[in-house]
């Protein structure tokens, strides 16, 4: 591995949404370990404050709701102002990690719940890609990683709204990879399978075993394993990879 492959993130900022969640925190830590400045987006001011105490100036918290269109614009203005003032390096990476998982059969899924899935899991990442790509295209370089799901790749009973929202993001990932390549921006996705995080804590043992029995590696993944995949796609080690959906699922067989 050449030195340049290791240093690309050292003079770069990465915006990570959902930064205070299980996978989000792991991605933040991985990026900071690699030398990046992280703009950590989230609604939980207290959790972000605690992360800032841990990481110091390498972490710059941005408290906002990803589904609030105006708040997202203001956040990008705030981010760019910090870059212009020399407080942070230019934006190189975006990780659309914020998401919610709805488990609800078709017959009892309200339109409000469906819209919430689409708002958080698709529309918000789309707006983030729109604004981030404008900043990245100034330097003709950037890397976007969307967190999708193996549920959208394979389908899952009782999760049609979630699967559809993540499938929309996968479609956007592949299309934007083609659209943004001319301005030097790569767009990829990571599709986690069953990962040990607060999001899956509620799984009872039987349900958990059922999932693991269909996983070739016979265990749940860790947030760090997802973060490592994200880090790879962000970095120049994946410089010839775009439009790819990388499964981190222990080879899940539905």
């Amino acid at each position: 591995m050449s030195a340049s492959l290791n240093t690309v993130l050292q003079s770069a900022s990465v915006l990570i949404t959902g930064a205070s969640g299980g996978i989000g925190q792991a991605i933040v830590a991985a990026c900071i370990e690699r030398g990046a400045t992280v703009f950590a987006g989230g609604r939980n001011e207290e959790a972000l404050g605690a992360m800032q105490e841990t990481f110091g100036k390498a972490l710059r918290p941005l408290v906002y709701d990803v589904t609030d269109e105006h708040a997202v614009k203001d956040t990008f203005r705030q981010l760019q102002r910090q870059v212009s003032d020399g407080l942070a390096p230019p934006l190189f990476g975006l990780v659309n990690n914020a998401g919610v998982m709805l488990e609800s059969p078709l017959s009892v899924t309200s339109m409000d719940k469906l819209k919430q899935q689409l708002n958080i899991n698709f529309l918000a990442p789309y707006q983030h890609m729109q604004l981030a790509s404008r900043l990245m295209s100034r330097l003709r370089r950037g890397s976007i990683v969307n967190i999708v799901s193996q549920v959208s790749e394979q389908g899952s009973k009782g999760m049609s709204a979630y699967a559809a929202s993540k499938a929309a993001l996968t479609g956007a990932t592949k299309s934007l990879a083609k659209e943004l390549a001319p301005v030097g921006i790569r767009v990829n996705a990571v599709a986690p399978g069953f990962i040990d995080t607060p999001l899956t804590e509620h799984y009872e043992n039987e349900a958990r075993q059922k999932v693991l029995q269909r996983t070739v590696l016979q265990r749940a993944g860790t947030a760090r394993e997802v973060a490592d995949a994200v880090l790879y796609l962000l970095s120049e080690q994946a410089g010839y990879t775009t439009g790819h959906v990388l499964p981190v699922d222990g080879h899940f067989c539905p």
Partner: protein, 80 residues
């Protein structure tokens, strides 16, 4: 360099055109150099030069050099 020259230079850099070809009448999609990819580069260039963040509706409306001037004026950029 005044704002008019900055605008001309931004268009010239983004579209790869000589500055003298950047006139008020120059319009999106009427020359091969100003396609959708170049439009994105142009927006980034204008935002960078004038230190603004344009709304999506303004980006959609930015269909000519003349229109770009009108839109940028909304962001307190004045042209003599």
């Amino acid at each position: 360099m005044d704002t008019q020259q900055q605008l001309q230079q931004a268009f010239s850099d983004a579209l790869g055109l000589p500055p003298e070809k950047v006139t008020d009448g120059l319009t999106y999609n009427t020359i091969p150099e100003w396609d959708s990819t170049a439009h994105m580069v142009l927006i980034a260039e204008l935002e960078n030069v004038f230190d603004v963040m344009l709304d999506t509706d303004d980006i959609i409306d930015m269909s000519s050099v003349a229109q770009a001037k009108l839109i940028l004026q909304k962001y307190d950029v004045s042209f003599a």
